[in-house]
């Protein structure tokens, strides 16, 4: 009934095997081509670099700059910068032939490492050292304490805030100021010294902040510069800031009282005002020469009165 099919062919598996082989070859070819293309597309998945000592001649990773002996190099936390620059100016005014260079913020962490690498004479640190940093066995010289304030845009009607209200603000439980302006919380990046200062007193604050970071609830800025600009120009803005930076730079922002207690040397020292942080210098070894002179200067009476005038509390505390 089907003469065109050779019965031999029906019985013999040879042509069938050939067909299977053909299909297998096509599949293998397809898989091969796809695999080749994928490998070509993805490229290597091994790390395309090695870890270890960066070569001395690297143009990226410079070990040091030329530091003339009469110049003091300082770099570190942005919180230290306003006061340190003011002190540097005063130092240069009273010490002819001496120069102080205060670099833009590289953060407390950067300050520690720069000091450790001996790239600068002093690292500027605005938070307690971490365990890993303590292990570096650096010399740490605290020179000022600064109240951390809840700063608001000048348009905000409130003058005082309670701790509970502060928590409500950052948790988003309260959304408007008393005049109806929407509350805009400006957060610093995780690990910021002001946040750490508040968290040290209010453990709930840490959890609220973490949640806010995770939910991207608030705008996060990662420098004092960005924070002061945001607070100055954003209606209803609120954020943590240094009182000293506000006073010294005459910023158009308003520090709130906490539970009706204004930040002052007395209230901070008596711990009635809860939030503050210590500014310190770190160096690998006890300085000599110009850096040593600078260290002596900031412990002097002129520097301490300058600090007090600018809203800072000079350290070590008066006995």
């Amino acid at each position: 009934m089907s003469p065109e099919i050779d019965p031999e062919d029906v019985e013999s598996p040879a042509s069938l095997a050939a067909l299977w082989i053909g299909v297998a070859v096509i599949l293998a070819a397809a898989v091969g081509v796809a695999g080749f293309l994928l490998v070509d597309l993805i490229g290597t998945t091994r790390e395309p670099f090695t870890s270890g000592e960066v070569p001395r001649d690297s143009l990226l990773y410079l070990r040091s700059t030329t530091r003339p002996p009469e110049v003091v190099h300082l770099a570190g936390s942005g919180s230290n910068l306003p006061l340190t620059r003011a002190l540097a100016e005063a130092f240069q005014a009273t010490h002819p032939g001496r120069h102080v260079v205060v670099f833009d913020s590289i953060g407390s962490t950067g300050g520690v490492h720069a000091a450790y690498d001996d790239v600068v004479d002093f690292g500027l640190v605005s938070r307690p050292l971490r365990d890993s940093e303590l292990a570096l066995d650096l010399l740490r010289v605290p020179y000022a304490r600064v109240p951390v304030v809840v700063a608001v845009n000048l348009g905000v009607p409130e003058d005082s805030i309670s701790l509970a209200e502060l928590l409500d603000l950052y948790a988003g439980r309260r959304s408007r100021w008393s005049d109806g302006t929407p509350i805009v919380v400006i957060q610093r990046e995780p690990g910021d010294s002001s946040h750490q200062a508040v968290e040290a007193v209010l453990p709930e604050f840490a959890a609220i902040n973490q949640t806010a970071y995770r939910d991207a609830r608030w705008r996060v800025v990662d420098s004092d510069q960005a924070m002061q600009e945001a607070l100055s120009i954003t209606a209803g803005a609120v954020g943590l800031f240094d009182l000293g930076a506000i006073v010294l730079q005459r910023l158009p922002v308003k520090p709130l009282r906490i539970d009706d207690i204004a930040p002052s040397e007395a209230s901070v020292q008596s711990r009635r005002y809860p939030f503050s942080k210590d500014l310190a210098l770190v160096s690998v070894e006890p300085p000599v020469g110009a850096p040593a002179e600078f260290l002596r200067f900031i412990d002097g009476e002129q520097a301490r009165s300058l600090m007090r005038a600018s809203g800072y509390i000079p350290l070590p505390e008066d006995q």
């Binding site: 099919i5 994928l38 490229g43 670099f49 870890s51 990226l60 950067g110 720069a114 990046e189």
Partner: protein
């Protein structure tokens, strides 16, 4: 189709083979289809996603490289102490992407340790796809920014796509595999059924044909037998008739003829006596003479009746001489040259029926020649073979159209028809070849089935 007429088992095996054949050959193709359909879309998705990721990673790398380049130029040494912040900042803009690591690498290929803090989600053992952009300072490449991308987004998407497309591939493949198979099975079943029906039909047909043809041959044999019998009967009837005629003729000739002859002789004597005797007996002489005339007339009539009843001449001189006499008669009567070729012994040994048939046929043929042909030359032929008699009468006269389409008897008389009937009754054939101005050729063949060998007939003839 020769196989279709074979045993049905063979057909069934064949059809099953066809289905298996197709299924076996469809299977690899169907597998190929399933695999290709299942894999192509997820693969394409994977490739496109990977390309997108790669583009993003490259864009990020370029961004990082230019930012780092700027930083290095601003702060050649210190940049690296807060580069982690810069990278975190960039990461904030590439949030929700698959970029897992951003690394700055010196031109020597060594990673620059920027900070201990993790950048983005660092997934450790996960293999990453790396993309780079050169960091240039004053048109000199000092290092590279590398971005590492996790592929799990692409992989998860592709795996997710594999489910519907795998189902699609399998579904399509099984449709393509099973639908023709089922259709084939149905068609095969139907073909098998019709073949079985055909085989059954063939068988019964053969039976029917065999039955019919045996019936037909039986009927034919019967018919033949009947025809044979009929011919036999008619021959016998002819024979008997002929014999009877001859008997009657002989009786008439021998009894009435002899008697009348005697009466005539007596009447002659009476007349002679009356003339010689008394004058008064003139009346007797006249009467005798008148009676003589009546006797002559009666005798002539009887002779004519006798000759009509049967060719008594056959009994007297035999067939050959009788035919010779017919020829002679014609020759005398007309200006015709007659060639008489009679190839037979004087005593032909034929049955009376055959003899008189031969005689009558030649007689009629010659009569026709005399009456119609105006011939100058006539050939008469008689040949006696052991089982066959051949007769021919050939003239060169004006001929005629012997076409049988002419209505019988419409032109001529009964002569030709009678001739044919006479011959065919004896199982012979008669042929007339003639055309206008072409002469006429009468050919007769008669089988010499000698009924005379039959005892009964001999008896009849002798009687």
């Amino acid at each position: 189709m020769s196989r279709a007429t074979g045993p049905s088992g063979h057909v069934r095996k064949d059809s099953v083979d066809l289905r298996r054949y197709l299924s076996a050959r469809m299977l690899p193709l169907v597998v190929l289809l399933a695999v290709l359909v299942s894999l192509s879309a997820p693969l394409a998705y994977f490739v496109l996603t990977v390309r997108t990721l790669r583009t993003r990673a490259e864009a990020t790398a370029v961004q990082v490289a230019s930012a780092i380049s700027r930083e290095i130029q601003d702060r050649p040494v210190l940049w690296r102490y807060d580069a982690y912040k810069l990278l975190a900042h960039i990461r904030a803009f590439t949030e929700e992407t698959s970029i897992a690591r951003i690394e700055i690498v010196d031109r020597s290929g060594v990673r620059v340790p920027l900070d201990d803090q993790p950048l983005g989600r660092r997934t450790g053992a996960e293999p990453l796809m790396w993309e780079s952009a050169p960091i240039e300072i004053n048109e000199q490449v000092v290092g590279h920014a590398w971005t590492g991308v996790v592929l799990d987004e692409a992989r998860a998407g592709a795996l997710l796509l594999l489910i519907p497309f795998g189902a699609l591939g399998l579904g399509l493949a099984s449709l393509i595999y099973f639908i023709p198979g089922r259709a084939m099975a149905r068609a095969t079943r139907r073909i098998d059924q019709s073949q079985a029906a055909l085989a059954r039909f063939n068988q019964t047909l053969e039976q029917q044909v065999a039955e019919r043809s045996s019936q037909l041959s039986a009927a034919y044999t019967q018919l033949q037998a009947k025809e044979e019998r009929l011919r036999e009967l008619s021959s016998r009837a002819l024979l008997l008739q002929e014999a009877e005629r001859r008997v009657i003729a002989r009786e008439l000739h021998d009894s009435a003829g002899q008697a009348l002859t005697a009466i005539r002789i007596n009447l002659q004597i009476i007349a002679q006596l009356a003339e010689a005797g008394a004058r008064g007996s003139e009346k007797v002489a006249g009467l005798a003479a008148r009676t003589l005339t009546i006797a002559d007339a009666t005798l002539e009539e009887i002779r004519r009746a006798v000759s009509m009843l049967g060719p008594a001449i056959l009994d007297d001189v035999g067939l050959v001489a009788a035919i010779q006499r017919l020829c002679d008669d014609l020759g005398e009567r007309a200006d015709t040259i007659i060639d008489c070729e009679l190839d037979a012994p004087p005593a032909s040994g034929l049955s009376p029926a055959l003899e008189s048939a031969c005689y009558r046929v030649i007689q009629e043929a010659l009569t026709n020649v005399a009456r119609h042909a105006r011939a100058t030359r006539v050939v008469v032929r008689l040949a006696l073979a052991p089982r066959k008699i051949h007769l021919e009468v050939h003239d060169n006269g004006r001929g005629f159209d012997p076409s049988p389409t002419r209505p019988a008897g419409s032109v001529g008389g009964r002569g030709l028809v009678g001739m044919r009937e006479r011959v065919e009754l004896l199982g012979g054939t008669l042929r007339i070849d003639s055309a206008p101005d072409m002469g006429t050729h009468v050919i007769v063949d008669l089988p010499q089935v000698t009924l005379s060998e039959d005892g009964d007939d001999t008896a009849v003839v002798v009687a």
